[in-house]
């Protein structure tokens, strides 16, 4: 059995009187693709941000690659030292830098020698198939191209853990299907552990080996994707109206 690569133990986060993440525990093994599935406001994005170190839990522990990064209500390791890549919901491409500039910033911050950077940038652009947009600004790219650029920027640092916060939510269905395939392919080829947050079970089913269902800040159920039976309720016309239950 694979050892866990990322582990959360009894993690809790409060905002005011409300527990947005409540006693959450789960783990993901190395190379696994885990989806956090749940409705808007259930705490899945906050969970992701806690793993990345962008927020601090009020209780619980988080471990990444065998190292405790969060405990006793404080971050023991800053985000830049956790070896994680994060794709934000609105992509967060730096608008004043070209695509190359966005990638170069990451490499320069990691103190990669200049002579290596051009090659790694070219490699990352090839991986996500936007070689022709190297000198374009984010504002000049289409939605799908921006997606790929954001993914390239995340992968170029060679993270061991990839965190994705509903990155496809604003894309049309055809483009989304294409990018989901590419994302799955890239994740498999690189063998990177990934945690993907979504409210769409089609996305979760397409990508993940295991799915964790979240509601009201709690993990209700976590199991292999094929073992979770997705029931369509009568008259439902959108994926959001479907129910799901474990077999």
């Amino acid at each position: 059995m694979n050892e866990s690569f990322v582990r959360l133990e009894a993690v809790t986060k409060r905002r005011g009187d409300r527990k947005v993440v409540s006693n959450v525990s789960f783990e993901a093994t190395e190379g696994e693709f885990l989806a956090l599935l749940g409705p808007s406001g259930c705490g899945k994005t906050t969970t992701l941000r806690l793993i990345a170190g962008l927020e601090t839990p009020d209780a619980g522990e988080i471990w990444i690659a065998g190292r405790r990064v969060t405990a006793n209500g404080s971050n023991l390791l800053p985000p830049r030292s956790r070896g994680v890549g994060f794709v934000f919901q609105d992509l967060a491409l730096w608008p004043h830098l070209t695509v190359t500039g966005n990638l170069d910033f990451v490499l320069a911050s990691a103190k990669v020698p200049k002579r290596e950077r051009a090659e790694r940038i070219a490699e990352a652009l090839r991986l996500v198939r936007i070689e022709g947009f190297a000198q374009s600004y984010p504002g000049q790219l289409s939605g799908g191209e921006q997606q790929r650029a954001a993914l390239a920027r995340t992968l170029i640092a060679r993270p061991r853990l990839l965190l994705l916060d509903e990155p496809m939510s604003s894309l049309d269905p055809n483009l989304k299907a294409e990018l989901l395939n590419e994302l799955a392919s890239v994740q498999r080829s690189l063998g990177v552990t990934a945690i993907y947050v979504t409210h769409n079970e089609d996305e979760a089913a397409a990508l993940a080996t295991r799915i964790a269902l979240m509601t009201d800040g709690r993990i209700e159920l976590i199991d292999k994707a094929e073992r979770l039976k997705l029931n369509r309720s009568e008259g439902a016309t959108s994926s959001a109206e479907r129910d799901y239950e474990a077999v």
């Binding site: 830049r80 609105d90 992509l91 730096w94 608008p95 004043h96």
Partner: protein, 502 residues
Amino acid sequence: MLGISFIGADGGFSLVKYRHLLTDMRQRDLLFTSTLLGVGSALLATIIGAPLGLLLARADLRAKRFLRLALVVPLVIPPYILGLAWIYIGGSAGVVAQAFGRDLLSNWTYSLTGAVLVLGTSFYPLTMLATEAAARRIDAPLEEAALLVARPHRVLSRITLPLIAPSIAAAALLTFVLALSEFGVPGLLRVPVFTTEVFTTFAALYDFGGATALALPLLVVALIAGIAVKLLIGNRMITRPQSVRTGLPLALGGWRVLVIGVFGLALLWSVILPLGVLAREVGGFERIVTSLRESGSAIGNSVLLSTVGATLIVALGVLLGYGRARARMRLRGLVDLVLIVAFAVPSTVVGIGLISLWNRPGLLGDIYNSTAIIVVAYLARFVPVAALVLTASVRQIPISSEEAADVAGASWLRTFTRIVLPQIRTGLAAAWVVAFIFAFGELGATVLVTPPGESTLPVRIYTMIANTPASTVAALALMQAGIILVPLALFGILARNREGKA
């Protein structure tokens, strides 16, 4: 105005005035000094204002609302009031001279350096507010994405600062233009610049054409700066779905004491010290009462004319602003540019223009010979800025709001008064306060057009400085500052109450 500047001594077309402008050593010195004044003031305002703005936007400080309001005070007090305060501090009979028993600072006070110091202090709140607004608008994920790979100082230098740089630069340019157009401070501190030369050439020599020729470099600079501001404020950044979180907070930790000290120093330097010195110079409450009695007419004129002026400015400004916001014009950018340049035209130049236009027989002359001309001066100077402020307010109302009224059968006027105006009442109030403050402090145009026997408070102060006891002048200056701060304070309370209800 421009036409007259091309008329020679023989009544025919002549470029002699412009040739004189370009070849005369004194004119070149004026251009050099004026430019230095503008650049120096803009630099100083940026050095003080930008860090304060960034801290106001991000630092975990208490009483930010109070700090912001207090630090805006130098901007709302007319610059010549601050100039007067600094004369009382650094002049030959000032506080420093009295404390040390000899004149240490008057050479610095009455100099370009002194003028830069006063104007930089007066205008730094512009940069502070612009920086704060820009820093607040940055999507938090942009900085968070960088924090995942880089240290905070690198995120600040490579991500945050480049994103807010256009706003800081626009504020610096605006400060440059305002400093270049300033008349009161260089006049008080005896710094020879174009605005004072324009005033002297016209008021002392009645050389209309010469004064206009002198104004031309200022107009050209205003035009260039206006283009630059428009380009900087334009859409340089991508339009993207906005995150609900903006601006990463900055935990001060051990730096808190230092940061509080910095704010305290800024308050002391720009607000407490000048107002304190003015109060000290007054000497006692009786002097204020006496000054009130002696200058009651000027004070009354200022309050009445500024109130009427501000109301008319907002009335015209909202129509222009609405037209600008809703019109589907290709020349939209040009309209913005015209408004910016119109605001940047130096006050003395506006004054000369008004005289040439209104000083003639008939109805125009009747208006010219009454205090109504002062209101016209306020309109000429400040309608553009009200229009720009209110354009922004109108743009926040979705067009569908008016379309729904249109579909329901409402006339344009009914839609405008019952649908649009109620939704922009905060913007209207803000524009009125800004217009009142500017009008109340206006000097350069007013000093030229005020009819004989009448006066406003700024004109009275300016004309009394040379031959009236300092205590009287200081009392009037303090009264002016106090009257201006009242609408500002009221607006601050109003805004706070609205925030509390929201």
